[in-house]
Amino acid sequence: MSSDTTTLTGSTGREVGVNKVPIWRRRKAAANYIALLPYVFFALFPFYIMGITSIKTDEEINNLGQSPFWATGIATEHYVYLANNTSFFNHWFVNTLIVTVAVTIISVSIGTLAAYALARLRFRGVEVFGVAVFITYLIPQTLLFIPLIDVINTIDEVVPIRDTYWSLILTYPTFLIPFVTWLLMGYFKTIPVEVEECAYLDGCSRLGALIRVVLPMAIPGIMCAILFSITLSWNELLYSLVFIQNETAKTISVGVITELIRGDIYYWGSLMAACFIGALPIIMIYGFFMDYFTSGLTAGAIK
């Protein structure tokens, strides 16, 4: 609320006197925090369960009489198991990392060029390209995964990419380039044209002006594009599930789902440990750069 200048401080009566905040206002503000707690609880619940289950011993997990919400000690056995008995760290994690980095570099460079042309340059058909980007952004992967197998097989006859992470490096940009382009198009439009004009007068070429003048001013937008590319490639499931069968070529999400779930007895401890570790890099990046994420989500959806 605009007029709500309340500062929610401790329950000592002194602050009320100093700030002249009426008691009903403070109660109202406190009610907002209390009302938000269920949302926070709901959002964090599965992450908490993952974390707490991963540090329990198998005995403790299988003791159904005991509260599943708390662990009596910290057991590292599931993490050790992941490291020693599965391909989690030496293959899946590494593959995911390679794919993420490569795809991010490819998508952000190609997307930046396209976005700049669409936001700034005047040529016939620029509107059509803009609409085409928007439509490709909205085509779901569900529609493309079956024919893409065929495309990959065709390419595989020339360059061996089937069943390797190269097939993912090739296909992930299909959903990232439209997103990055859309995001940066909105961002470039907010940068004043006058600075570019100066660059042209100083003898810069188009590409020179983009790299030397526009990009440094668009760093927040570029950061946002990079962060989203990282997140979306790290989290992808469908393509990597369909294109990769070789156990050592899998990414984290697929590896965990196909290799760690065996038979009818689930090894919840190691499964939850894998989920926790697999989500951790993204959660940490998100923690550091939260503001970029929020601004990007808004721009990507609305502009």
Binding site: A43, L44, L113, R122, V126, T136, T142, I283
Partner: protein, 321 residues
């Protein structure tokens, strides 16, 4: 719309040859724009447009893994519509899934955004936590929910059995993913969990764009909180709400990860969506043609939504958020 640098480029660039200037006359002053778009165009044509055409071709052929395909007309579509009961169920499942998911996401997202806007301290903590489901890898966080919904280990069943006042009623234990109705409710529930942040963040941005003086004026007129919400917030938020509802509908209709991890379409095909059913046909049964036909049913819905969206986005180009 697009602002253009109006520098006299002829003064700085080398004099253009006759060919270049003729092209400029026909295609506009910035013909290098085509070069900037070339890499993106190559990728999108070869890996989106071409596969899409291939999907259309598969859907009117008898394609099967490892065999040459031939044209069969609309046979696949007729087959899944008239003889495949599971597909008819899939259509209903998808509509049900999308309707309840989007409805709850709007209501919960809007209420959470309104609350987040009102708090002043610990903003980053509260925002950061409620947005986390959106950035975390869906497949992995859904596995967390899988444990929470497991018939034996379910945390929900444990609460129902051991925590007062629930223990008093003697509810449960429920087999959340084993019963068709509960399984559908569960996948909708997890989809809502994952989708709320998208609504929260866009609605928050929409709320910020509403000028403060409207609320000040309403307050002077003695409007109640409810009246302010109903007469100011909601009408001004309507364009934003319309756009995110359409976006979310597209993503919800194409949902794959949550279903695949939690139920794989079961029990008894009660949670199949287009994506998982297409996966079953195309990947598990090697019936590429039928898989493509199932997935293509998404397309007409998509076209309608995209047309709506484009109209709205164009109308709101001046509406900066």
């Amino acid at each position: 719309m697009v602002s253009v640098p109006n520098v006299d480029r002829a003064a700085v660039a080398p004099p253009p040859g006759p060919f270049r200037s003729r092209m400029k006359k026909r295609l506009g002053p910035d013909i290098d724009g085509y070069g900037f778009l070339l890499p993106a165009t190559i990728v999108m044509v070869s890996l989106v447009v071409y596969p899409f055409c291939l999907a259309v071709w598969f859907s009117v052929s008898d394609a099967f893994v490892g065999e040459p395909a031939s044209y069969v007309g609309l046979e696949n579509f007729i087959y899944i519509l008239t003889e495949d009961d599971i597909f008819i169920e899939t259509i209903w499942n998808t509509l049900l899934f999308a309707f309840w998911s989007v409805l709850f996401k709007v209501v919960l997202g809007l209420s959470c955004a309104l609350l987040l806007q009102r708090i002043l301290k610990l903003r980053r903590f509260f925002r950061g936590s409620v947005l986390l489901p959106f950035v975390a890898p869906t497949a992995l966080s859904t596995l967390g929910w899988w444990l929470i919904l497991d018939p034996t280990y379910s945390h929900i069943n444990w609460i129902l059995a051991n925590v007062w006042p629930f223990s008093y009623f003697g509810w449960g234990p429920y087999n959340f993913l084993g019963n068709p109705t509960l399984a559908m409710a569960s996948v909708i529930f997890v989809n809502i969990w994952r989708g709320i942040p998208f609504f929260i963040i866009t609605i928050l941005a929409g709320l910020m764009a509403i000028p403060d003086h409207l609320y000040d004026a309403a307050e002077i007129d003695g409007a109640s909180t409810w009246r302010k919400f109903y007469s100011i917030t909601l009408p001004l938020l309507r364009p934003v709400l319309a756009i995110i509802i359409l976006f979310s509908t597209i993503f919800t209709l194409g949902e794959f990860n949550i279903i695949y991890v939690l139920t794989r379409g079961g029990p008894m095909n009660s949670t199949h969506l287009f994506s998982t059913y297409s996966f079953t046909y195309g990947i598990l049964n090697h019936e590429i043609a039928l898989g493509a036909a199932v997935a293509l049913f998404l397309f007409p819905i998509l076209v309608v939504i995209v047309v709506f969206l484009l109209r709205m986005v164009r109308r709101d180009t001046s509406h900066e958020l």
